[in-house]
């Protein structure tokens, strides 16, 4: 459950062409040699070789559109996010790799059994430990400026991070907040709790007036086809985040997350490890007695009991079940016809009567891929304004904050003209290769404050704290669009094979 090595490199083209960070662990390497035996042990190569081999395995050395046998062959073993890296003398396995902020974060966990034959991934805890370590490193580093190199302060800080998070390569704590506090020697100056044991993830204690913040951020993603042979898709999911400033070593908070009685219960609820107990059941066929007696009413109120860490954290995530269809908060149609050089289009959007008609923003974007730049537009919006951004490759229809009270509907009609398409000139910009001819979509971006589509909220009366305290309670809700796509009714659309109805109980 230790790591033999952790390394970070920029994606080709987004930084120096070398590892920017590597940490190896001689004692773990010694163990790897013992566990694998000298005949099967594959040693770590030099930094330069490791850089090349990592990119080679990911196929990032060649263009993505060209067929490359070693990367693209059908019988390549697929274990993402786990990879094998070919080096002199064999393959390093299991290498966990994630990509974030233009960087590749990699680690090689020690397998505490023989790797010949390879054990299934489920038996190697190091893989998931590696995954959490790498995500934490990525969060710890954040975005790096464009001209960074290996001696950038954030990269140097990573040495300290690794020393604290995983001395001897064994992960102790990956939380960026607590690790940073430790590096800054903040843990030594704290008072010691008198009687209770203090959790390792709550090393610093809070003093002062208690506060409790909950934010429910709900997101919706949808693909609307308005077609008889492609079904519209809409799903809602959310996260409940919390920031608790409470005194004591292990203050325990209990809170109820509720939805209205006439709404479907929250489903697929998964919670932070600090949750000690609660109503976290998932609604499934296998749930004894649930479906037969139809008692999800109990689940419209889910109580969670937890000891909060000091830093902000995500108490839980939930997602609407695929079996309960969600009505889209905004229904929309997109009709576009014309030629390469000129199109006429109509976009209709209608806010669902269920949604609070007080948005923070609502904008429809109409990107035009694989065409020349827009030379002329002639838009007629029923409300709001239409803008043509500087790149002249899409239209933005800003609807403002409120739909017409009665109809809740808005329409945009427009005629758009394009310059001749010049593939060379536009090669630097992103083109969706699917969107040729009349294949096109509109994207809708909106945010509704103080609202959740599922009706999910924290019941303020339910908050209990032990030992008793009366912190100031702060509740926030918001509902935003993630990916919200409307396909042109007159073109082809990317769709998937529908799940048969009988499978959706």
């Amino acid at each position: 459950m230790s790591f033999r090595a952790v390394w970070v490199l920029p994606l080709p083209g987004s930084g120096p062409e070398d590892l920017i960070f590597i940490k190896t662990y001689p004692t773990v390497e010694k163990r790897a040699l013992v566990f694998n035996g000298p005949e099967n042990h594959v040693s770590l190569p030099s930094d330069g070789v490791l850089y090349d081999a990592t990119l080679e395995e990911l196929g990032l050395k060649q263009s993505g559109t060209k067929y490359v046998d070693s990367r693209d062959t059908c019988d390549k073993e697929f274990q993402k996010p786990v990879f094998e890296i070919k080096v002199l003398g064999g393959k390093l396995w299991p290498v966990v790799i994630i990509q974030k902020f233009g960087l590749l974060f990699c680690c090689l966990p020690l397998v505490e059994q023989s790797c010949e034959p390879r054990p299934p991934l489920i038996e190697i805890l190091g893989v998931s430990l590696g995954l959490s370590l790498l995500s934490a490193i990525a969060d710890f580093m954040g975005h790096l400026p464009k001209d960074f190199n290996a001696s950038h302060p954030k990269v140097l800080e990573l040495y300290s991070y690794m020393c604290q998070a995983a001395p001897f390569g064994t992960l102790i704590d990956s939380n960026p907040t607590t690790v940073r506090e430790a590096i800054q020697n903040k843990h030594s100056t704290q008072l010691v709790a008198a009687h209770a044991k203090q959790p390792a993830w709550r090393p610093v204690m809070t003093k002062g007036k208690g506060q409790l913040h909950f934010t429910i951020t709900e997101q919706v993603r949808a693909v609307l086809y308005n077609s008889s042979n492609m079904e519209d898709v809409c799903s809602v999911y959310g996260s409940i985040s919390c920031k608790a400033d409470l005194e004591g070593a292990t203050p325990e908070v209990s809170v109820a997350v509720i939805v209205p009685h006439d709404s479907p219960p929250l489903d697929n609820l998964i919670v932070h490890p600090c949750v000690q107990g609660g109503d976290t059941q998932i609604i499934s066929s296998g749930m004894p007695g649930l479906t037969s007696q139809a008692t999800p009413a109990k689940l419209t109120r889910r109580r969670l009991r937890f000891i909060p860490p000091r830093e902000p954290f995500t108490l839980g995530y939930y997602a609407s079940a695929s079996s309960t269809p969600t009505t889209p908060p905004i229904s929309a149609t997109y009709q576009m016809r014309g030629t390469d050089r000129e199109v006429t289009l109509t976009v209709k959007v209608k806010l669902s009567s269920k949604v609070k008609n007080a948005l923070e923003y609502c904008e429809v974007q109409l990107p035009f891929y694989n065409r020349g730049i827009i030379t002329e537009i002639d838009p007629v919006p029923s409300m709001g304004s239409v803008v043509l951004p500087n790149d002249r490759r899409r239209l933005g229809w800003n609807l403002g904050a409120r739909f017409p009270t009665r109809s809740l509907e808005a329409t945009l009609q427009a005629k758009v003209q394009f310059a001749e398409y010049d593939e060379k000139r536009q090669s630097s910009t992103y083109e969706d290769p699917f969107c040729v001819g009349l294949n096109a979509y509109a994207m809708i971006y909106f945010k509704v404050p103080d609202y959740t589509h599922t009706g999910c909220q924290i019941d303020p009366k339910s908050v209990q704290i032990h030992p008793s305290a009366k912190p100031k309670l702060n509740l926030v809700r918001e509902f935003t669009s993630a990916e919200y796509k409307v396909w042109n009714s007159h073109g082809d659309a990317q769709a998937v094979f529908p799940v048969p109805k009988y499978l959706l109980h």
Partner: protein, 924 residues
Amino acid sequence: MAAPSVLQSADRWLSEIFEFRKNPAAFFTTRQIEDGEFVMDILQAMYSDKLGDSIRIVLLSTLQEKSSCLMSTPDSIEQTVGSLMSMYDQTTSETAAFYKSQLLVTMTTILLESGQLEAQPKLFTDFVELLLDTVSKVNSAVDRTVRGTACQCLNEIETMHPGILMRKLEHFYAMSQLECTHVCQNYMALFVQVLKNSIYVLLRSGESIDSSEVTDLLCSRTEPLKPLTLPEDFSNKMFQLGSPKDSSVRCFSEDVDSKELLRCLSFLLDHLYLMTMPCAVTTLLKLIDCMVTAPHIAPHILRPFVTRVEATHDVTLFHALLILKHKFGRQLMTDAEEELLLDRLVSCSSHPCLTPGHRLLCYQWLLNFPENKASDLEDTKSHLPTGLDYTKTASLYPGVFDGLDTTLIKLNLLSLCFTPSHVQDSASATLIGCLVSLQKSIHYGITGRPAITLYRALYLYYRRHYETVLRSDIYKLIVTIVTEQPKFVPHTINFIECINRIDTKDSFPTELLQSSMENIVSTPPSDVLEDLEFHLLLLEKVCKEKSISPKPIVAFLRQLLTSTSIGSNGSWLLGNCILSVCHSIMQHHDTTEIFKELGQLLYELLTSYGDLDIRDRARFYYAMLTNISSQKISSILSSAGTTHSLTRLVTGSSNFDIPSPVQKLQQPVLCLTRIQRRPEYMTFACSNCQQYLQNLQSNQKPPVIHMDYYLHFTEVSSTRSVDKLYSLVLHVDIPKSYKEIPDVSLSCLTLDESQQPSDTCQVISLQIQPLEPVPSKLPVSTVFMTADGQTSTCSLSPVHIQFSDLFLPLPVSSSNRPGLFDDLWKYMQDHSSKTCAESVCTLLLNKTAMLEVIQNQLQEYRIDHVDKEDDTSRIGIFLPPSWHLLLKITAKQDMTVVAIATDNWKTLPLVNTFLHELEESRAR
């Protein structure tokens, strides 16, 4: 000035350290220092406070990671540890706890890596004593961070030397219970590690174990916490880590009292929630290793933990849960609970809030889900849990928001869920139907990952269901792709090769190739030109199949050469592709059957293909075909070692890079010097103007103007060793206004003959066929090979084509010209609204001068009117492909008036320039 110097020294140290880490050996050589000196430098730098903590940590990390190449002797290790120790003593816990902790980590790493327990036991035990002393101060607030790290150091020592701390176990147990600060987890982790190793030592000792031995281990204090005394019979083999293979651990016998062990395990489990996630799961796994050795301890003590973490969104915690399930099966979870866990896993695998890596890992776990029902499949083989019944398969259908990785893994799982039969059924319809979005990408010709994903999915399908109706479904699907989008041929070939790898006898690849081939050869050659190299790549693959007759392919290739222009275009790339097909035929087939056809094909190539290299090789193949037996050819070609055929290189399906063999020369070594212009005259029948113009319009072949040049060496080249150039190809870039000029190929050019423009010099001729009558500057480049085999390329000075170079006399017999001139003039006057135009230009040339100019430069186009005796000279110029320029030049005393008429007004500015050039040429 202190600040900059500190910065400088920090930067200097960083660059030194980076340089060193890259290649330690090279670093020492270039710096000419010994490893010991460098360590001293590092230690000295750390002593000074100027460097700042982050740099000092980088230096410490270097000592940790590279101690093996920094400290080669026991002395140097002792010295380094000594220095670090005195630094440790001088560092205060209040302000520099982190740095102080890392000093401990560094010393521990150095001692462990270099095996100091064996080499310098005193040094080692002294250090352990320091650690033990540090950890003994339970609940001391000031140094808790350092105490925590000291626990980790002891933990690492125990890990590398199992059993060494066994006799201190009771102390650690007590300290774990007493410690209240946040480093309590470090004490517990240390305790579990020592406990686990101690139990293993007991079980492996081979001696009979007293019933109270485990309790004694935990409760009886055998010796004080410090010092660490090594046993009297200590030898190098003691406390050494063994490989997991020989760690067959038994259980304690039934009569061993495990009550205290149970108590301590419960204590640890109850306090697991105090630990950070990574620490909790590693501790848990060591804890269950202890648990399984005691037959009286049932897994149900894990139940509270299981209930607490079942709904976790932490990837590691959930993984630990699965490992517990794997270890204990039904003892831990009932079938109903197992189903809930499976539900949870399925839910997490498609949970939009989790990271892609987390979700992908969930799918991997699904493939090896530990089930209560013993599976008859091997552990390592991926299979779907039987509990994953149809109610849960809904979430395995690829969704519209799924990325390609998720789609592929879902298709893999689906193909495990559904087993199609021999006829079309819902299973086959579902499996093929789920490919729809990938197929759409292919349909729109989107290259890259969607195509790779589709082919991988098909491969997975095929492997599992090759005996079902899917076989023909996949067959149809691939044939369609190859026909509609030939650019995916490399993928198809790879698919076939992968199937061949799993079963060489399978006839599927052959059938697939056969029908793809039939599709290609039945297409008219003109329709395959666009993606020809891909078609040829596939044909090459087809020819490797002995059971498929190459006859239709040979016929197809011949037709291709005779009915299209690829032969005369002479593309080297396509030529190679065609030759690769021929190569493949000759290597894999008996050529007696197709001797004549193949011979004709090769003959066609060697006589008329527009590229010398291709012709040469075709000649070679032809010679082989006609002179050697088929068997011999086959063995020659097989032994030639062309494992990677050229075709695959050019179409990109091969994996190795060819180093660029072509050298680009900056200076031109060759030069073109103009000799003459030889227009090809043509005449049209001309009874009247109308008919003439009609004839002109219907003429398909624009007139050619040959431009002859000497091709000779420049002065630059005399300084180089390029006295003989072989296989020289001259390429002229042609603007849109002219017709393409084929490349000029020469087999050899020697410095002797072509040093200067002279009679011995090589002459080349460029055929200019204007599509519009405009002058141009044509860039010229050349590729050639020198005697030493080096291929080079360079640009030559461009070739200038003047407006007047395009002039031709009126294309009718000279007797008809005067009449035509008048008719055309009138025609142009009448059609001035179209493209025709009239203009007048005056030139400052007197009569004599003007006549001289006409005589010298326009004589060829002069039209003699027998019946007109005036001072006007008439000039009739034909501008290919179909335009005219008519001039009436009237010379006055001190100036000349030129009346211009043309049927292409766009040329007027050019005419104007041309006339003024005449004026200037005279003035000079």
